[in-house]
């Protein structure tokens, strides 16, 4: 039993490291080949986890080999258009200037029902409002309505937009991030003064952020 436990720990760590090295966080961002690799790697790890009679390398070597191939191919794909087309395919236009391209729908094996479903996911009810719809290589559909149907931005309304700044998290869930504190140009004394205004300490703080304009956000933890 202890051997199963240790094998599982080791394989789990190797899996996590492999997925991290591949560099994608969300399944939705993966190309088809990357998704296959992720599923494959998970299944490869399960084999020696379940059967103690199988040597550990039976799972480790295939996982590391798949990881190595994925890393090499991802680098080659960056440099070679041909490989990119071969392994990732290319985006396909499904709606061009408001016209549904039936040939492309057939080629990508997407039905009209599926197309309508994808449009609804993008909050589009009326297909006539869509100027372009492009099926990306990762399977997502990019939808571009005609400009007259795009929600007005501040610029369109002639309203001068306020500048916006990226808030930096100084404290998250009771933990002070010194690296972020340094990036924000603030000091611990400043943190203490802000916390003092809310009669709270670091441990009582859920979130403390500050941006370039000096805007501070403090959120306290709910009392248990």
């Amino acid at each position: 039993m202890i051997l199963s436990y240790l094998r599982t720990l080791l394989l789990y760590l190797v899996l996590i490291l492999s997925i991290r090295l591949m560099g994608k966080r969300q399944i939705g961002q993966m190309e088809a080949s990357e998704f296959v690799v992720t599923m494959l790697v998970a299944n490869l790890a399960a084999i020696p986890m379940q059967d103690g009679a199988i040597p550990l390398y039976s799972g480790l070597v295939p996982i590391l080999t798949v990881l190595g191939m994925e890393l090499v191919l991802s680098g080659l794909i960056l440099r070679s258009v041909f490989l990119r087309r071969l392994l990732c395919g290319k985006p396909v236009i499904l709606i061009d200037k408001g016209r549904i391209l039936a040939d492309n729908l057939r080629r990508t094996r997407i039905t009209l029902d599926e197309l309508m479903g994808h449009l609804r996911e993008k909050d589009v009810l009326d297909i006539q409002t869509v100027q372009y719809a492009i099926l990306e290589t990762d399977g997502n559909l990019s939808v571009f309505p005609y400009p007259k149907y795009v929600p007005a931005a501040a610029r369109d309304a002639g309203i001068p937009a306020q500048k916006q700044y990226l808030p930096i998290s100084i404290i998250q869930d009771g933990r002070l991030f010194r690296e972020n504190l340094a990036k924000s140009g603030k000091t611990e004394a400043w943190v203490q003064s802000v916390l003092g205004q809310h009669s709270a300490g670091v441990a009582d703080t859920l979130l403390l952020t500050v941006d370039e304009s000096g805007q501070v956000l403090w959120l306290g933890k709910e009392p248990v």
Binding site: A53, I54, P55, T65, G68, L71, L76
Partner: protein, 126 residues
Amino acid sequence: MKRSWIGLGLLLALLGASLLCASVMERMHRPIALELEQAGRYALEGDWTHADAQSRLALDDWDRWARFRGCLADHGPIEEIETGMASLRVYRQVKDSDAFAAGCMELARQVEAMGQAHGLVWWNLF
């Protein structure tokens, strides 16, 4: 590109390690198989002194590589061979030449197969 180099390095390291392990496994097991076969032949000829010496040599060589083998080979076949080795010890003690010779030949084939299972030959790919 740095990750690609890491990937390439990983692939080459795995290739090197795999080739090395395959070579070691084959070279480790072939002598043991030959020793077992020879022990079987001696037993059939009635030469228990040499049969005993050869089988002990084979058992010692088998035990010497136990840890390395345990890391690479499936444990099922290892246990089968070790069960066979234990039987050989009994046949040797009671001097049952037929059973000893048969046991030696069977073990020799199993040990040889274990070594060849990791070899780089085309039929192992399928």
